[in-house]
Amino acid sequence: MNKELLAHPPGETNPNLLDPQQPTINREWRVWGLLVVAAMAWWIAWNSLQPLADWITYGLLGLSPTSAFGSALAFFLYDVPKILLLLTGMIFVVTTIRTFFSAESTRQLLGGKRQGVGNVLAALLGVVTPFCSCSAVPLFIGFVEAGVPLGVTFSFLIAAPMVNEVALVMLFGMFGWQIALIYMATGLLIAILAGMVIGRVPHIESGVEDFVWQLSVGTASSEPGERMTWPERFGIAWHSTREIVSKVWPYVVAGIALGAFIHGYVPADALAGIMGKDAWWSVPAAVLIGVPMYANAAGVIPVVQAVMEKGAAMGTALAFMMAVVALSLPEMIILRRVLKPWLIVIFVGVVALGIILIGYLFNFII
């Protein structure tokens, strides 16, 4: 076309785009410098949290540590910035790692891998590959067309939403690194085993809608992610962090406020009756309630923690969390476009069963 394509005259440089005058090396140093300063600020903030919360509640406002309101407020003032700080830090780090991966490269890595090894790899990749539930359908089709066995694809689809950084951060922040690690390990285990089990169901391929097999998938264009510069990676990570935190913080605040209330006001062991270890039906019930729900891990976990303080068993709480995060009605509706109902039922059933078993296991050993 011979008309002026862009609003800016050809000579003018958009100041926001990479300035061609400034050497790339200086820009890299600046970005790294900025990152170091940010990390130090984060660390200082992190260490000031508890003292600050205590000072405001007991020093400034003069509340008593034994009063219900005092302990609830201190809990709230400590936890909200703590979780937000953790979230910011973790999402930034995880998104940076994710810039090294892509759905296309994962597909190539998994194509043709047989069951077993493939399931393990798929679950691990599910954790690090950037995944948005809206891409579940194209991703599913892409994997299947590339020759990735169905069971392996499912391992990916289970691990990706379940072992997400928001859930891990929240667990780490509220229960410590051991619990977060256990969650990640059992999440991966469920993803691997459920994927393997589903893969072994006879004629599982017939569970996929016929049109999928007839689609011709174009060859993937070269993924720009593989050749990014560090400033680009950090730019994406920062953008992603801001986006996720801005979406999630209301849930965090609401969840912690609710948790703080339970922490301060509900008597200890009040919930042991219906959610404690001895209520054997609590695990399946928790999973059944959690499966159709779609809630942010950020909002659920503080409530889980508070509820656990009051007598709910660890296994039941973990099972509920996993059920909420791993499966949801909206996701099933999206998958309905490519999966026949009976396969969806099997998918949900196997994963739910796995979660229930984990719930019982933890109630037993913890």
Binding site: K3, I141, L215, E223
Partner: protein
């Protein structure tokens, strides 16, 4: 120049379309943008993460919502090609 936004209609896809519309509204009417929801059409481009952007049948972006500057850059590169 024909720009296509590939996606299933989720909020990210709509935002991508909005960003693109914002950029091209000042350009010549030869530059058009449409949304593509059909799964078969999306897969034909070999795209697995939506939203994806296609300019004149070439995939230029996949898996994220671009900023205005990035869209400008994409259009500039496509024009130069």
């Amino acid at each position: 120049m024909e720009i296509k936004v590939l996606g299933s209609g989720c909020s990210n896809c709509k935002r991508t379309k909005a960003v693109i519309d914002e950029v091209i509204k000042d350009l010549s009417p030869d530059v058009t943008a449409i949304e593509v929801h059909d799964i078969a059409a999306i897969m034909a481009y070999g795209v697995m993460s939506t939203p994806a952007i296609v300019i004149d049948e070439k995939v230029v972006s996949a898996g994220k919502v671009p900023s205005k500057n990035q869209v400008v850059e994409m259009i500039r590169k496509a024009q130069a090609a």
